[in-house]
C-alpha cells in the first residue's frame, strides 16, 4: 500500500483509537514504528504504514518489535511499538531491562488489552507492567485523548528518559470518534553516543542504574499530582465520588453525571494528593477500573478508604448498565429489578467459522477422521479447528506453544497414552513468531511428533498481513521470501520427513498424515494453499448439488464449509433396524469458490460444477482446476 497524503492540520477526522494513535505518532516526528499484528492493536501500524517519512515494519514478534524501537531510540530517534496485551508478555524480557537503560529518543509502547476477550486467549490487565517495570502509564478514554496522550507521551519519555506505556483497550482501539489533527513536527535524531554504562547491561552497569528507577517513580508521582491529564471534576452531588481511568470514565459520566470524578490520564504513578482531595470531597469513594483491583488496592494501602471490586466485576467490560445498580446498592438505594422486556431473546449461537474454501478445512476434516491421536493447537484462524464439526484440537495456550506442549505430552505420557500419536498444528505466521524454537526443541530432544504446518501465506486471523514467508513487506512491496521447507530442515527435521501437500487433495493429505504419524521421530507436513482472503487466492468455478442425486448422507456437511446448507431432513430405518437421520443439501453458489473439498467425501457423486453461464458475476474471471 502506498503512502497517502495525510489529512491537513485542523481537519476534524472520524478516527478509531488505533488511527488516532497512528496520526499522533506520525505528527510526533517518529522515525521508526514496529509491531506484530494482534487484535485489537493491529490497525495502528497498518495505518502508520500509509504515512510518509516514517519507517514502519511488521516484525516477526512483539519482542523484536520492541527491540527495534529501543535501538532507534538509542540513536535519539523517536520510536514506537504496538502490541496486544499478550504480545507484551512476549516482549517483557526486553521491557524489564529497557526500563533500566531508559529511552534517549522518545519511546512509546502502545499495549491494547482485549477487555471482554473478543479475540484473545486470556484477559490480562497491562497496567501491572507500569508497576513491574517502573514506567509511567497513560490511559486515554476516547480517540481524541488517544491522539493527545500519544503526543504527550513522547515528550514525557524524553524529559524523564523513560519508556512510556500507552494503555489502550478494545473500546479505545475500535471506537471511532472525532479527532482534530495537527501538523508533523520534525525530530532529527541527536545521534548514537557510545555509553557502555548505559547501554551495556552487565550486572555492574545495571546495578548502578537501578536506584534511578525508584527515584523516577517518586519524581513521576509528583508530576502526576500536577498533571493536567489528571482532572478532578468537583461535581454537584457529593454522596459518592469516583476515581477512574480509560473508557471506564465515560461510563461513570454517563451513569453519574453530577458526581465528583477524578479522571486519571497519567494513571501510574497515580496522584496521591488529588485522590486525597477527592476523598475529602465526597461521602463514599468508588474506584472504577478495567479490569483488576489495582488502583483500589494501592489507594487503600495509602490509607484512603474506598470501594471498588467489592461491588464491581473484575472481569469483562464495565458499562453504565453495570455501574448504576452496583453503586446504588452500595449506597443503600433501592434497585429496581430489570424489566422483563430487557431479557435477550433466545437465538442459536453463531460462532466464527472457517471461510468457504479455507485450506484449513481440509486438514481438520482429515484429523476428524483419524482415531487415537492427541493434537496440540496454536493461535490463529486455525484455532477454529477446535470447534464443530471437526473438534480436532485438544490444546491451545499461547503463540507457538503447540510444539513444546506436544513434546511435553510425548515425554510425559504413561501407558494409558502410549499407543496414541501426538501431533502439533501451527500456522506459518505463528511458526515464525515463536514456533521455530519449539520445533528445534523437538528435534534436539528426539521428540516423536508430527507437526502440521498450515502455510496459508499470511497472518490470517488479523486480516491478512504480510509475513517473512509471503515475499511482501508491510507496504505490499517485494521482500526477501524465506523458505519454510529450508527452515524446517535447518531446524533438524530429516529431509525425507518433510512433506509438502495440497490441503485441497483429501486422499493425499489423509495418506500423508497416516504415514507420518506412524514414523518414529519428528516429521513436518507443510499444507500449502493461500488464505482465501488474500490476493494470492484465486477462486475456482463454484459447485452445485444435483438434488435428485443427493442421498442425504451428510458426509459433505462434516467438511464444515459455510456454503453448504441443509434443504430438508428425513429419517430412514436401515434393514438392520437402525434409524438413520438424513440431511439433504444444496450449495450456495454465491459463497462457493470451488475448492472441491466437499466433492471428495460425497458418496453418490451428487456435487458438480455450476454451468459456466450461471457462474456469479464476481467469479467470472476465474478458471477451473478440473
Amino acid at each position: 500500500m502506498a503512502a497517502v497524503m495525510p489529512a491537513s492540520a485542523a481537519s476534524r477526522l472520524l478516527l478509531s483509537g488505533n488511527e488516532a494513535v497512528a496520526r499522533a505518532v506520525w505528527e510526533s516526528g517518529v522515525r521508526v514504528a514496529a509491531a506484530y499484528p494482534g487484535t485489537p492493536a493491529t490497525e495502528i501500524i497498518e495505518s502508520l504504514a500509509r504515512y510518509p517519512d516514517l519507517y514502519a515494519e511488521w516484525s516477526v514478534n512483539e519482542k523484536v518489535s520492541m527491540e527495534v524501537a529501543l535501538g532507534a531510540s538509542m540513536t535519539g530517534a523517536r520510536a514506537f511499538c504496538a502490541m496486544k496485551h499478550v504480545g507484551l508478555n512476549v516482549a517483557s524480557d526486553c521491557l524489564m531491562t529497557m526500563t533500566i537503560t531508559g529511552a534517549y529518543g522518545g519511546l512509546v509502547i502502545a499495549v491494547a488489552d482485549d477487555v471482554g476477550m473478543s479475540s484473545s486467549q486470556n484477559e490480562q490487565d497491562s497496567r501491572f507492567w507500569g508497576r513491574f517495570a517502573h514506567i509511567p502509564v497513560l490511559e486515554p478514554a476516547d480517540s481524541q485523548e488517544a491522539y493527545e496522550m500519544t503526543k504527550f507521551a513522547f515528550g514525557l519519555s524524553e524529559q524523564y528518559e523513560t519508556p512510556v506505556l500507552l494503555r489502550l483497550t478494545t473500546r479505545i482501539c475500535h471506537v471511532k470518534g472525532l479527532v482534530v489533527a495537527g501538523e508533523r513536527e520534525a525530530h532529527e535524531p541527536a545521534g548514537f553516543v557510545k555509553d557502555p554504562q548505559r547501554w551495556v547491561m552487565v550486572p555492574a552497569h545495571a546495578k548502578a542504574r537501578i536506584p534511578a528507577l525508584f527515584q523516577r517513580d517518586e519524581t513521576l508521582r509528583a508530576v502526576s499530582d500536577a498533571s493536567p491529564l489528571n482532572v478532578l471534576e468537583a461535581g454537584s452531588n457529593r454522596s459518592v465520588g469516583f476515581v477512574t481511568s480509560g473508557p471506564a470514565y465515560m461510563h461513570v459520566k454517563e451513569a453519574f453525571p453530577d458526581a465528583p470524578v477524578l479522571k486519571l490520564g497519567l494513571s501510574y504513578p497515580w496522584p496521591p494528593e488529588k485522590v486525597r482531595e477527592l476523598a475529602a470531597l465526597c461521602d463514599t469513594l468508588v474506584v472504577v477500573e478495567e479490569t483488576e483491583k489495582l488502583l483500589e488496592t494501592e489507594i487503600r494501602a495509602a490509607g484512603i478508604a474506598c470501594h471498588g471490586k467489592d461491588v464491581l466485576p473484575s472481569i469483562g467490560e464495565l458499562s453504565p448498565q453495570v455501574l448504576h445498580p452496583a453503586v446504588d446498592r452500595l449506597l443503600g438505594k433501592p434497585v429496581p429489578p430489570p424489566a422483563p422486556a430487557a431479557a435477550p431473546p433466545r437465538v442459536f449461537p453463531r460462532p466464527p467459522t472457517l471461510c468457504a474454501s479455507c485450506p484449513h478445512m481440509g486438514m481438520y476434516y482429515t484429523l476428524s477422521q483419524i482415531k487415537n491421536i492427541i493434537v496440540a493447537g496454536d493461535i490463529g484462524c486455525y484455532t477454529l479447528g477446535a470447534g464443530h464439526p471437526w473438534n480436532a484440537l485438544d490444546t491451545t495456550i499461547c503463540m507457538g506453544a503447540t510444539m513444546g506442549v506436544a513434546l511435553g505430552i510425548d515425554k510425559g505420557r504413561g501407558s494409558v497414552d502410549k499407543n496414541k500419536r501426538i501431533l502439533a498444528v501451527i500456522g506459518d505466521s505463528t511458526f515464525m513468531h515463536m514456533g521455530m524454537q519449539g520445533l528445534l526443541d523437538i528435534t534436539y530432544n528426539h521428540g516423536n511428533i508430527t507437526v502440521l504446518l498450515l502455510d496459508n501465506n499470511t497472518t490470517g486471523m488479523t486480516g491478512g498481513q504480510a509475513t517473512p514467508a509471503s515475499g511482501k513487506d508491510i507496504h505490499g512491496k517485494e521482500a526477501p521470501k524465506v523458505d519454510l521447507f529450508k527452515i524446517v530442515e535447518a531446524l533438524g527435521v530429516p529431509n525425507e520427513r518433510i512433506k509438502v501437500v495440497d490441503p485441497y487433495q483429501l486422499p493425499v493429505l489423509f495418506k500423508t498424515v497416516r504415514d507420518e504419524i506412524k514414523v518414529e521421530g519428528p516429521s513436518v507436513i507443510i499444507a500449502r494453499r493461500p488464505c482465501v482472503l488474500i490476493d494470492d487466492f484465486k477462486p475456482f468455478r463454484p459447485y452445485l448439488v444435483e438434488e435428485d442425486k443427493c442421498t442425504g448422507c451428510g458426509n459433505c456437511i462434516e467438511v464444515g464449509c459455510p456454503a453448504i446448507h441443509v434443504t430438508h431432513r428425513d429419517k430412514v430405518v436401515k434393514p438392520s433396524g437402525k434409524e438413520v437421520e438424513l440431511a439433504f443439501v444444496n450449495i450456495d453458489s454465491q459463497a462457493c469458490t470451488g475448492c472441491g473439498l466437499c466433492v471428495q467425501p460425497c458418496a453418490p457423486d451428487a456435487i458438480r460444477h455450476v454451468p459456466r453461464h450461471d457462474i456469479p458475476i464476481h467469479i467470472v474471471k476465474t478458471t477451473s482446476t478440473s
Binding site: 482485549d114 484473545s120 471506537v175 459520566k253 449461537p349 453463531r350 460462532p351 466464527p352 456437511i557 443439501v585
Partner: protein, 206 residues
C-alpha cells in the same frame, strides 16, 4: 449532562455482510451534520461469519460508546435471526428495519441448534415495530448483489434525525472514485431501499 438528545442506532448482521461499512457511512453523515459521534463494534473475528454489531451514537456530546439494552431508536438488521438476537436493545417506541435474509450457520446445519421459525414475527409478537424487506432480491433485481448494503442504507434514510440527502451525499462521496456508473447504481439502490420500507409500511403499518 443530559443524554436525551443522543440518537442510538444499532446495526447488526454477520461478518462479511458489510455491517461495519454501513455504520461507518451513517457515522460520516452524522458528523457532517455537526454531531459528536462515536461508533464501536465487537468484531474480533468478524470476517469469519460470526455475529457482528456496530453501535452508533451521535448528538451534542457522546460519552460511553456502548448502547444499553432498551435504548435503541433504530435497529438496522442485515439478517433476520441477528435482528431478533439484538431486539431487546430497542426502545419501546423504536423501530427495526430488517433484511429478511436467512443465513444459516454450520452449527445449525449440523443439527446442533435450530434456526428460529419466523424471527421478525417473534419480534412483532414481543411488541416491537418491525419493517422487513428482502434487500438481497432488491439488489439482485438492480443487477448487482453487492448493492445490498446501499439498499440497507436507503431503508434507514427516513428514520434519521437529518435529511435522507445527507446520507445519500456520503454514499455518493464514497463511490465517487469508482465512476459515475457506480454512483448511479448506488443511488438507485438507495432509492429502492427507501421505497421498500415505505411500501411495506403503507401495506401493513408497523
Amino acid at each position: 449532562m443530559s443524554t436525551n438528545d443522543i440518537t442510538n442506532i444499532l446495526v447488526c448482521g454477520i461478518g462479511g455482510q458489510g455491517v461495519m461499512t454501513a455504520a461507518e457511512i451513517l457515522a460520516e453523515a452524522a458528523m457532517t451534520e455537526g454531531h459528536d459521534v462515536k461508533k464501536t463494534e465487537v468484531a474480533g473475528m468478524a470476517q469469519r461469519g460470526g455475529v457482528v454489531t456496530s453501535h452508533l451514537r451521535f448528538g451534542r456530546k457522546v460519552l460511553s460508546p456502548q448502547i444499553e439494552p432498551g435504548t435503541v431508536q433504530v435497529l438496522l438488521g442485515f439478517e433476520g435471526a441477528e435482528a431478533l438476537r439484538w431486539s431487546h436493545y430497542l426502545k419501546p417506541d423504536g423501530i427495526a428495519l430488517v433484511n429478511n435474509a436467512r443465513l444459516v450457520p454450520p452449527v445449525v446445519e449440523l443439527g446442533l441448534f435450530d434456526y428460529p421459525e419466523d424471527p421478525t414475527g417473534q419480534m412483532r409478537a414481543a411488541g416491537h415495530r418491525v419493517v422487513s424487506f428482502d434487500a438481497m432480491t432488491i439488489a439482485r433485481d438492480l443487477g448487482e448483489i453487492r448493492l445490498g448494503n446501499t439498499v440497507m442504507l436507503g431503508a434507514i434514510a427516513d428514520y434519521l434525525p437529518f435529511a435522507a440527502n445527507v446520507l445519500l451525499a456520503c454514499i455518493d462521496k464514497r463511490f465517487a472514485r469508482k465512476g459515475e456508473k457506480v454512483v448511479e447504481a448506488n443511488r438507485r439502490a438507495f432509492a429502492a431501499g427507501r421505497d421498500a420500507v415505505a411500501r411495506q409500511l403503507a401495506a401493513s403499518p408497523a
